[in-house]
Structure formats: C-alpha cells, structure tokens
C-alpha cells in the first residue's frame, strides 16, 4: 500500500518562507499606507484641495481716455474672449486640443502652440486664445464643452475708439504682453496674458490705465471643467481715466488739414507728397492741442479679431516701408531738414552774438560765393537784388542774406562756428523736448565735433564755410522734428520762453454715471516755460519779420494768411531732402513743405507747425494746411479759394 501523502519538511520550510515573504509584503503595504495617510495626510489633503481650486483672474476694465473737454476718445466695450488653461489638459491630449481649438477659432495652430509654450506654465493666467469671438464660435464651444477641456469663455473688455483713426499715433494701441516685456515687468505685477499699452498714451501711461485685476476662485474637475460657481476673492479695480490736452475738434481739423495739404501738393504736381505732420501747441504752457501724422491707421485693428494682413504695416518693417510707416508719429519721431523755417533761429543767434544787426541792411543778391573754393550759393528768387533789413529778409525768406550770416559765424573761428548751434540747442533743437509719451527723435544739430566723429575721410570731417552757411538756412545735415519746430515757434510767440510740450493733463477717477462727476486724482502740472535768454529787441525784430511774411505783399505766405481776419505770423520752409522714391535715382531730392507760425500775432494762443513730406514749396502745401487748423481753432473761416502763390 502506498504511503499516504504528507507534508514533507522541505515543503513545510518553503511554506514558512513564503509566509514570511507574505508578511513582508503586507508590511511594506501597511508601512507605506501609514506613511502616506497618517504621517503626511495633511500635506496630501492640501494638495488634493489645491488640485481642484482655480483662481480666475477678473480683468479690470482699462481706463478711458478723454480729450481736454471731456469727450471720450477711447473707452471699453464688452466682448468675449476664449482662454485656455493648458495645465488642465493631459499631456497626451494637448496637441490635438490646440489643433481643434485653432481650427474652431480660425487662428494659426502654430501661433497658438507657440503662445501656449511661452505662457502656458502659469496656471493662474490662462492663455487668451482670441478676443472678440463670434457668436457661432462661442455656441460651438459651449455645445462641445467636453471636447475642449481647459477652455474657458470669459467676458472681457475691448478697447473702443470713438473717433476711428483720430489721434492714432498719440493714443497708441494695446496688445498682449510679450515674453520679453513679461520678463522685464513681472515684478510690477504684470502676468502672462495681460494686455499692455504698447505705444503712445496707452504705453506711457499704462500704469494708470490698467487698473488692478480681481480674483475669483472656483472648483474644477480634472479636465478643468468648473463644478462650482465663481466665488469672488478680490474685486477688480478699474483703471483710471486720463484727460488729454488734445482737443478732438482741433485734432480732426489737423488731420483733415494734412490730407488737404497733401492734396494741394499733388495738385501742384508734387506727386511724391505722401505724408506729413501737424503739431498744434498752446504757446503759453506747451499743451498739445493737436498732433496729426499721416499716413495713419485705425487703432481698432489691434482689438479683437486681429487681421494680421492689415496689421503688417504696423508691426513688420518691410510692410511698414511699403505703406510709408503709418505707425510712425511723424510729429515727434520724424526728422526733417527745416529749411527756411530755421532762419529765425539763425537770426536770433546772429543778433545775440552780434554777428549782424537787424536793421543794418545786408545785400540780398541772386548769387553769392563763399570759401576758398568760391562755392556758389544762390537765392531761391533770382530776380531780387537789393539790400534788406532782417524783417524784410525773413518776410521774403532771402537765402543769401542768411548765407552771409552763416559765413560770418564761420569766420569767427572755431569758437564762432558752434555759437549758432548753442543757441539752437537753447531753443530745443538737437534734443528731445520732453513730451510725456516719449518716442521722440532728437533730430540732428551738426557741429564741427559731430562731423569729426561721424565721418571718415578728411574732406568730410572738415567743417567748411558751406557747413555753417547750410546750417544758417536750415539745410545740410540739420534735422528737426515738427514738435521741436513748434516748441521754437512757441518761444517766438510767447516772448522768449521755451515750453515743455505735454499731452496728459490729469488722471481722473471716472464718475459712475451722469450724476457724480469725475474726480481728479493727480494733475500733471506742466513744466514752467524756461526763459531762453533771448534779447527782447532781437525777438521783436524776428516777430516783425514773421508778421511781414504773412502780411506784406512780398511775404512768402501772405497769399494764404494776408486776408485772414485773425492776424497770423509765420514762416514758410522749403527744405531739400534726399529721398528714396521708387523710379528715381539715388540722391534725388524733394522739397519738404513747411509752415510754422502762430496767431493772433500779438497775443498768441495757438502755434501751428505743418510739414508735408515732398510737398513742394512751404506756401503751396503746408501754409494752407496750417490755415485750416487756425480756422477751426479761432472758429473764423478763411477767405474762400486761397490763391496758391508759387513763388
């Protein structure tokens, strides 16, 4: 009979070992369970609770921008934005989600992906995929919510420009903060997805305009879908309002005047006239009443449904060139040779330095020769050949008269050759004027030192008589901005004080509704006008000359202003500038049409400086354009049908 089976000792040993192993396994599980749940339970509990909490940024409405009379220039309208919190989306689904979302919203998937990579890491600030979304797209996203985890549709504020393109370059635009800006500004509380003013007022006064975002919290599930209502944690505070010195009426007049000036230039067969700028200042304190630049654009292009094709001229250098840089504020950033409008500077400096005397006549000859090489300089009017006093020379804009003054500066030796520039600097040339929105060009005030540093060859490095003479009539290397010119003419108009132009007069807390009025929070006091140290007698001689220029029958712009009922003083300028135009050889020059002046002549309330690029003679394009601004300002219409005097 077979021995019945029994548990053998070796098997018993193995069962024992297995039992010990089983105990070990359970020991590990128990130990781990204890360590997770009991020892670190609170930590994980907090982690689990954080998991489901989302802080949602509540956008603060951006402050409004008002003109000097309280007219709303920029405000907000409600809009819808689609945001994406990529952190809520499992890694594996992200690429597909981005593709689908980009498809639904009609944005470039690649751009969206880049945006997500750049800003996606911060769970607090979702990426704004698109603002101003169409109703149908919103409905689609709502209906297919389950397919779009992490996507949220929020109310947002869109910038609303009441006057279209009016003041575009002054106002600037608002755009989403870039990665570079974020790196620079994150300490100041800017976060990814913020919109930030990029240029102009929006850029310079962003801290006042942006307000403080609020915070809401809500519970979400693992796919970022909200499972509770929003609970407010911190109320948003709206941005402050800004009141500008701009008068929308004058601004519009100035912009229309620019177009009018350009059209006049075209009518005068200056076909290359394609842009310009007009600055209107209050000569008493420097408040900018209008600042127009042409060509222009609509700031609303940056709002909501951004059309990249239309935006290209503003953002892309190549496209900007083709469209003649509409984003450029030519009034402050465009630098041009001033031509004859600079002659009052030469006159003042010459009298201060006793180079000449206002009422000792100098010959205004058709031709003059200066320098060792007998360089030839001509007057624009070859039929004038007579001695002139300063007012006469200014009125008729005699070139050879000022050539002589320039040459006299040169002959004063190295000391004298910088005197004119020193006075010009006192009047604000060669430096930025300190306008509060920045972005200014300082122009160029050539000196013998500058030539030495700037050029290589000995010929170019030398400061020759020609350089002083060219400078005296506002040609050569000299470059000024229309704003600098306006500041200088303000000085002439107000009796010798240099103003600092400004655009923002105060910061206001917008009143709620019609009852409560706006509360001024901070007033930006204009910098008091600085005395330039000009001799009043010398100034009076120049002012006489500029009055003659607009009223004497021989005056360069008397055809435009002579019959205007408000007495206007001012000077034309026709500056040769080397321009690159398609179809013309390199070195081709076009006349920049200038007119700068003020009115009323004895009690100036408005300075206008107009520039029409490639517009021909100053009296032909710029002066009639400037008159349009005066007409609006004084509410006095000019004589009908201005006779264009091509002198």
């Amino acid at each position: 009979m077979r021995e019945p089976y029994r548990l053998t000792p070796p098997l018993a040993l193995r069962v024992g070992i297995f039992g010990a192993f089983a105990l070990l396994v359970f020991g590990v599980l128990f130990f781990r369970l204890w360590s997770l749940q009991v020892l670190s339970g609170t930590h994980y509990l907090a982690a689990a609770q954080n998991n489901q909490l989302r802080l949602v940024r509540i956008e603060a409405p951006r402050g409004p921008i008002l003109d000097r009379h309280g007219r709303l220039m920029v405000s907000n309208v409600a809009g819808t934005a689609v945001q994406l919190s990529i952190g809520d989306v499992p890694q594996a689904r992200r690429a597909r989600l981005i593709r689908r979302l980009a498809h639904v919203l009609n944005v470039s998937p690649r751009a969206l992906a880049r945006q997500v990579v750049e800003f996606g890491s911060d769970p607090l600030s979702p990426v704004t995929v698109k603002t101003a979304v169409r109703e149908a797209q919103i409905e689609y996203l709502y209906e297919h919510q389950a397919q779009f985890p992490g996507v949220r549709i929020v109310e947002t504020y869109l910038r609303d420009y009441q006057y279209g393109s009016l003041g575009a370059q002054i106002l600037g635009y608002v755009g989403e903060i870039s990665a570079d800006e974020l790196k620079r500004l994150h300490r100041d509380g800017y976060v990814a997805g913020d919109r930030i003013g990029q240029t102009g007022i929006e850029g310079a006064y962003d801290t006042y305009l942006r307000g403080h975002d609020g915070l809401d919290q809500l519970h979400v599930d693992s796919l970022g879908r909200p499972v509770s209502a929003l609970q407010p944690r911190q109320e948003p505070r709206a941005g402050f309002g800004l009141r500008l010195t701009i008068d929308t009426r004058i601004q519009r007049a100035a912009e229309l005047a620019l177009r009018y000036g350009i059209n006049l230039a075209h009518a005068d067969s200056h076909w290359a006239a394609n842009g310009g700028a007009i600055v209107a200042l209050d000569p008493r304190d420097g408040a900018v009443l209008a600042m127009a630049s042409n060509p222009t654009y609509k700031p609303s292009l940056f709002v909501g449904k951004v059309d990249s094709k239309k935006l290209a001229p503003l953002l892309n250098a190549e496209a900007a060139k083709r469209a003649n840089t509409p984003g450029l504020n030519r009034a402050i950033a465009g630098a041009y040779p001033p031509g004859s409008t600079f002659k009052p500077v030469t006159a003042l400096a010459g009298m201060q330095e006793h180079v000449f005397s206002a009422y000792d006549p100098l010959q205004c000859s058709p031709v003059a020769y200066y320098g060792l090489d007998r360089q030839k300089f001509t007057n624009w009017d070859p039929y004038v050949d007579k001695p002139m006093t300063l007012p006469e020379a200014l009125a008729q804009s005699c070139d050879t008269y000022f050539d002589e003054i320039g040459n006299r500066f040169y002959e004063r030796g190295p000391e004298g050759r910088v005197r004119l520039q020193q006075w010009a600097r006192k009047f604000g040339f060669g430096q930025t004027s300190g306008l509060d929105i920045g972005g200014e060009s300082s122009g160029l005030l050539p000196t013998p030192d500058w030539r030495k540093q700037h050029f290589r060859s000995d010929w170019d490095r030398a400061w020759n008589p020609g350089n002083s003479i060219q400078l005296a009539i506002g040609q050569g290397d000299l470059l000024v901005t229309p704003l600098q010119m306006a500041v200088f003419y303000s000085m002439l108009a107000n009796g010798g004080n240099v103003v600092t132009p400004f655009l923002v007069s105060d910061v206001e807390q917008p009143g709620n509704g019609k009852r409560s009025s706006d509360v001024v929070l901070r007033r930006f006091a204009p910098k008091p006008p600085q005395p330039s140290g000009v001799d009043p007698a010398a100034l009076q001689a120049v002012r006489d000359g500029l009055y003659k220029a607009t009223h004497d029958p021989t005056g360069t712009s008397s055809a435009v202003f002579g019959n205007y009922r408000v007495p206007i003083s001012g000077k034309t300028g026709t500056a040769e500038k080397i321009v690159q135009l398609p179809g013309y050889p390199a070195g081709h020059t076009e006349d920049q049409s200038w007119w700068c002046g003020w009115g009323p002549s004895d009690n100036a309330r408005l300075v206008v400086c107009a520039l029409i690029e490639n517009g021909g003679h100053g009296s032909a394009a710029a002066a009639p354009a400037a008159l349009k601004v005066f007409e609006k300002f004084f509410n006095v219409p000019g004589p009908q049908a201005v006779r264009v005097n091509v002198d």
């Binding site: 089976y5 297995f18 089983a22 590990v28 599980l29 997770l36 998991n51 599930d221 693992s222």
Partner: protein, 398 residues
C-alpha cells in the same frame, strides 16, 4: 498490531464510503470556514467600497456598478461551489484539456474582443464584459501544477523545469500581446511559485531568478538602448516613471501622482464619499478599476484600507494553511501557486497606487469593478476550499 490494522481498515473503509456516497454534512464540516468567511467579508466589503467609489460615475444611478458587481458575485458563488465540489484532481488527470482551454481563452480574445483603451482584453457578452485572462489565471495554475506534479520524481532536472517554463510561456506571451503586461506578470509570478512549491532546488530557483532579472533588465534597458522595443513606450515609461516620479508631473507620471495624492489625502479615517475630490472630480484615472485602492484610501482613509489589507492577509494565511493540509502534492502546489498569484496581484495593485510598484492594469481582487475578476477570485477560493476539504484534516485538528 491488531488495533492498528483495525484503525487502518476503518480509515480505508471510511474513505471508500466517502468516495462512494457523497456525505454532504461531513464535506461541509471539512470546509475552511474561516477562509469562506474571509471571502464573504471581502465580497461584502468590496461591494460597500465600490458603492462609494462609483457613486458619482453614472449620473442619476449611484448604484449602477454595485448592482452589476453583486450580480457577478452571485455568479462567482456558483463558481465557488462548483470548484469546491468538483474534485480538483480531475485537473491532474486532464491537465492537457485544462491547458488547451486556457490557450483557447487567450486566443478567443484576439478574435472576438474589441479594443478598449488600446488593449484587447475583454469579450463583450452583452450584459457583462468577460475578461478571459482573469479566469485563465486559475486554469493556468491548475494545468502547470499538474504538469509539474506528474514529473515530481524528475523535478530537479533542468529538462523538466525548462519544459514547464516553455509550457507556461505560451499563455504568458499571449496575454502579453493583448497587451496586458500586468496579468502577464501575475502569470509569471504564479509559474515561479509553482516551481518553488513543487520542490525545485534552491540553487535552480536562484538561477531562474537571476535569469528573470536579466530578462527584465534587457527588456527595459539594454534592448531599447540598442533599438529593439519590446515594451510599448507607455509601458516602459510606467516602469521608469515609478522609479523617477517627479520627472514629468503633468504627463507620464500624472496618474501616479494623482493616485498618491488621493491615498494621502484620505488621512486616518478618510474624506468620505462626497468630499473625496480626487475620485469625484476624476483626478484619479480609472478609479473604479485599476486605481480602486487609491480611491478607497481617499474615501475611507487608513482604517478603511487597513481593513481590506487585513482581509487579504487573512485569505493569504488561510491559503497557506491549505498548502499544509493538502491531501496530495498536487493540491499543495496548486494552493501555493494560487495564493502567490493572489498575493502578487494585491501587492502590484495596492503598491502601484502608492508609488511602490510599477503601474500596470491589474484589478484589485474583490474590489475593482469587473465581473470576471470577482468570479475568478471566488473560483480561486473554491479551488482552495476543495483542496482543504479533501486534505489531511484529522492530524491537524486538536
């Protein structure tokens, strides 16, 4: 001498009487009631846990999964009774049939199963989904144990060992190809434990262990480095992710981190069903199946999880006791293999939710939602009961 003969004779006659006419009362008395009680406790506890875990999964029907799970449990009780009553040594005689059935189950999957989450594991039987690899687990142990016990005399020969491994490798590979890495690992562990209990020498076991380690290294490291991908990328990532958890919290190891957070947030006594946000808000993936343990930990805390683990420990202990009381070597080896498979499954599943084991899709016995799992686990208990009832109980009774 005479007394001895008398006793032996009585035992022989008694034995014959028992086999000739089924003594139901005596048979019931020979069951391991502690094991049975543990199984029932696990069913009850498991249903309660599932009720909590899945309360918000089907909107409007909080008991959707509980009801299905209960139905499966009733089916499973049938399987238990069947496995208890049918003599397990039939499997010894007809092991080839059992083995072929196992293979057949594995192969059906490839033909009939639809792909769910990238894997062909489930066969749709209308109301329930049938997962053959779960049921195959018990059959696999029975067949392989029978093969080994048949050759018990030559068990220390490498030839026997290698043919057993070769025999086992076929279903293991089939499961692996479904792909179901976790269950393939369970099968492999069971095969190893069969060799362990059947009496393969220690030295040989060591060699096998080292070989298995090298194989694992090769699959995870050497072969991918040389351009041969054995595992699918996500499987390999789960293994490496388990070792290097903080690498990518948003992506590959997201599941594990959420799971650990869930377990940890449970604390001592749990957050309750309503408050358990990880489960309720779906931060925990597959919380009704693969990550059921984490969900349990979150809702019921250390106390609730410990109760489950203790019930498992009870089953393992009683299972090991079955090994010792088994009436023959086959019974002992089968019991040993089943207990080890059970233990391995618990460790991998509970361990993965706590970050101490790699993430693989193995259901948690008696708790994870899934009809096949509960049926096959009750079937497993039934087989243990059958071995116990036919074992040498007399000598062990006080």
């Amino acid at each position: 001498m005479a007394v001895q003969i008398q006793v032996a004779e009585r035992a022989r006659v008694g034995l014959r009487r028992e086999t000739s006419a089924f003594d139901s009362v005596g048979f019931l008395r020979r069951l391991d009631w502690v094991l049975l009680a543990a199984a029932f406790a696990l069913i009850g506890y498991g249903l309660w846990v599932v009720g909590g875990i899945t309360r918000f999964d089907v909107p409007g029907d909080p008991n959707y999964y509980v009801v299905r799970q209960a139905v499966a449990a009733v089916l499973g009780l049938g399987a238990l009774v069947f496995a208890t009553i049918v003599p397990y040594d039939l499997a010894l005689r007809y092991w080839r049939l059992v083995y072929c059935t196992t293979l057949g189950l594995m192969l059906i999957v490839f033909v009939a199963a639809e792909t769910i989450r990238g894997s062909k594991r489930w066969i749709n039987l209308g109301v329930i989904q049938f997962q053959p690899s779960e049921l195959g687990k018990v059959l696999f142990v029975l067949a392989l144990a029978a093969f080994l016990v048949e050759r018990a005399g030559r068990i220390t020969r490498w030839r026997t060992i290698m043919s057993a491994i070769g025999l086992g490798a076929v279903p293991i590979l089939l499961v692996f190809l479904q792909p179901d890495l976790g269950t393939a690992l369970v099968y492999s562990a069971a095969l190893f434990s069969l060799l362990f209990f059947v009496g393969v020498r220690w030295r040989q076991l060591l060699v096998l262990f080292v070989a298995a380690t090298f194989l694992a290294l090769a699959v995870l490291w050497v072969l991918p480095a040389s351009g041969v991908q054995v595992l699918k990328p996500y499987q390999a990532h789960r293994f490496t992710g388990f070792l290097n958890r903080d690498r990518d919290p948003g992506g590959l190891t997201w599941n594990v981190n959420q799971s650990i957070t869930a377990v940890g947030s449970g604390g001592l006594d749990g957050r309750g069903v309503v408050e358990a946000s990880q489960t309720r808000l779906d931060y925990l993936p597959e919380h009704a199946t693969d990550f059921a343990f984490a969900s349990l930990g979150e809702q019921r805390g250390f106390v609730g999880s410990a109760i489950l683990l203790l019930l498992y420990l009870l089953v393992v202990w009683r299972g090991l006791r079955v090994v010792t009381v088994a009436g023959d070597l086959f019974g002992a080896v089968v019991a040993g293999g089943l207990v080890f498979a059970f233990l391995f499954q618990i460790f991998i599943n509970a361990g993965m939710t706590m970050g101490v084991a790699p993430v693989t899709g193995i259901p948690l016995p008696f708790v994870a939602v899934g009809g096949t799992s509960i049926v096959s686990n009750l079937f497993l208990i039934g087989v243990l009961q059958g071995i116990h009832a036919r074992g040498n109980l007399g000598r062990l009774r006080p």
